[in-house]
Symmetry: C2
Subunit: 347 residues, 2 copies
């Protein structure tokens, strides 16, 4: 694309050219897409043996993200992951995405292309097609609303409501990285390419800007009926465990010593002289899966994780509802784990 | 609801109470809703004999609507109709809706309830359930992004691309009312209840604020295979006929004398001394269906419309692509019909 074209306003580009430009990079239309973008609605074939999964997510400038810490590409990338992660948390397979964006007048065609390029990369990696959307001007902030569709076999969806006393609580990957990456970005005066950063910041910033939707793990848990409940970490562990406990009507006891933290996180915390535990407990936008597994299924889970080389760590146990949500610290103290739900960028 | 509760900020109301409050008024969950609001995604049963229909729409304050001319209730009502109308234009049956809203700080719980009350009325009238959404703060404008789902039998969807030379062009109901109603509202200094207005303004303002999605007509056209192409009038007749002609690769000749205008429209135009034709040709947000019918199906269409007491008027004929889009005026002059796509409120 020529530099002058990148600088053009989105309103100067024709509608059909926009549609062509925005679907580029996503999974191409196939036999499932009977009518894609460009009509009043999309018409899609849905496999008769599955249930439909659907979720919608809104990202608002200076509430969920800031242009100071995220480029248009970053924003698109993370918006796609946040939605794919909701599908992962249901144990489902993502299929289609619809994207509505409201653009302030400063947004150029090049920015808009970058946004869709960011959206398309995680989508294409998981076979997801762009089948609809809406583009509008905005008198002020930048808004992105995404709806994602997926499919799951009847009776296999992972909900937040199935955990029972005695179930083991697991978290995938590691926790705290995204919050630490954001903390680093907020202290920078200008944006830098991830590839130009040094470790441990490079790893942490990448986890913040380009998290991984845990779709393979979600499918493993649902297709083999291994988990009793699951959700993804979007608000932070302390807030999300509360959501799971509320819907399952149970309590939880977390072991601080078991929380999986990366050497990068520990190194950065040490450099900036803070305790990494609050990042691990309360940091949002982690997009790891938090799930519970009945004791008799532990062995099968461990074998399956090993076979698929998926990392997940037991971090606690489901308790009775009246016990509430507690945490045992490394020194043996057990106390109430207060939710400090992450309030996104404005925090 | 107590006056003090109406004045509370949405952020002061608990999440589960919000979910209870917002699903109230929509069609209640049934056997199709396996998991509704409150989990990472909704899980829905989709009938195996149908295709999935999906569309997304974005409404932005001071782009698509103004608080000066629309209340929160009006905004919700019209947002629901705009989406239902997209489903009607495909000849499909609407099923589920998801709503994402970003609220500036001035929005109170009572406003938010009014918005959802407005959304719920047209949805409930057509059996549509609210199954997902997202609520966020907004640093500035008010945004509503809606995704609607529906279903249609394979091969029956009405697209924009099937019109052929010689097909007759129809429009449902009447045209120009919504634009005239908006013109009236823009000259008012304060908002008034529709029921307090006098005719002809009462009728015109109601058509602007509470249009009707033409779902019965859409189903008639698709289930009996009567239409070769269809879309709904959201941008205005001149702009929407252009969309249809582009996708069908045809031209069109419209008869100005045939455009269905109501006595209310003609009376108001006469009162304010303007020609009503531009409202009829270019006014947006009409949500009537514009559709084309092969000559040999005219008789069956007329019989069916009569039987179901649905109003639709032949307004022109599909011509060859190289003829372009033309209009014959009452005085016999034929000229190019230039699209003046309605640019919503900012116009």
């Amino acid at each position: 694309m020529s530099p002058s074209r990148r600088q053009a306003f989105v309103s100067e580009i024709g509608e059909f050219q926009l549609i062509r430009a925005l679907t580029h990079g996503f999974s191409p239309p196939d036999a499932r897409t009977l009518i894609g973008m460009g009509d009043d609605a999309a018409i899609l074939a849905h496999p008769s043996s599955t249930h439909l999964v659907v979720s919608t997510d809104l990202l608002v400038e200076n509430v969920h993200f800031s242009k100071k810490t995220s480029s248009f590409f970053d924003l698109g990338y993370k918006a796609a992951v946040a939605n794919l992660s909701d599908i992962a948390a249901m144990g489902a397979t993502p299929t289609f995405i619809l994207v509505a964006v409201a653009l302030p007048s400063y947004v150029r065609y090049g920015d808009w292309k970058d946004l869709y390029r960011g959206l398309s990369i995680p989508c294409k990696a998981h076979g997801v097609q762009l089948v609809g959307g809406d583009t509008s001007g905005s008198p002020s902030s930048f808004f992105v609303a995404i709806t994602i569709l997926g499919q799951v076999e009847p009776g296999r969806a992972l909900t937040r409501g199935g955990a029972h006393e005695g179930d083991i609580i697991y978290v995938s990957g590691s926790v705290g990285n995204s919050a630490a990456g954001l903390a680093y970005l907020k202290h920078k005066t200008s944006r830098e390419k991830i590839s130009n950063l040094r470790q441990p910041m490079k790893f942490l910033v990448r986890r913040h800007l380009q998290p991984t939707p845990r779709l393979t793990l979600g499918r493993l848990l649902s297709s083999r009926r291994l988990a009793s409940a699951a959700l993804d970490l979007s608000d932070g562990l302390s807030g999300d465990i509360e959501h799971l406990c509320q819907q399952s009507r149970v309590g939880a006891l977390i072991q601080a010593a078991s929380l999986p933290m990366t050497p990068h996180l520990i190194e950065y915390a040490s450099q900036v002289r803070v305790d990494p535990l609050p990042w691990a407990l309360h940091g949002g936008e982690e997009y790891e899966l938090l799930f519970t597994v009945p004791p008799k299924k532990q062995h099968r889970l461990k074998m399956a994780l090993k076979q698929l080389r998926i990392s997940a760590t037991a971090i606690g146990v489901i308790t009775s509802r009246r016990s509430g949500i507690q945490i045992t610290h490394q020194d043996g103290r057990t106390q109430k784990l207060a939710s400090q739900s992450y309030v996104h960028f404005s925090e």
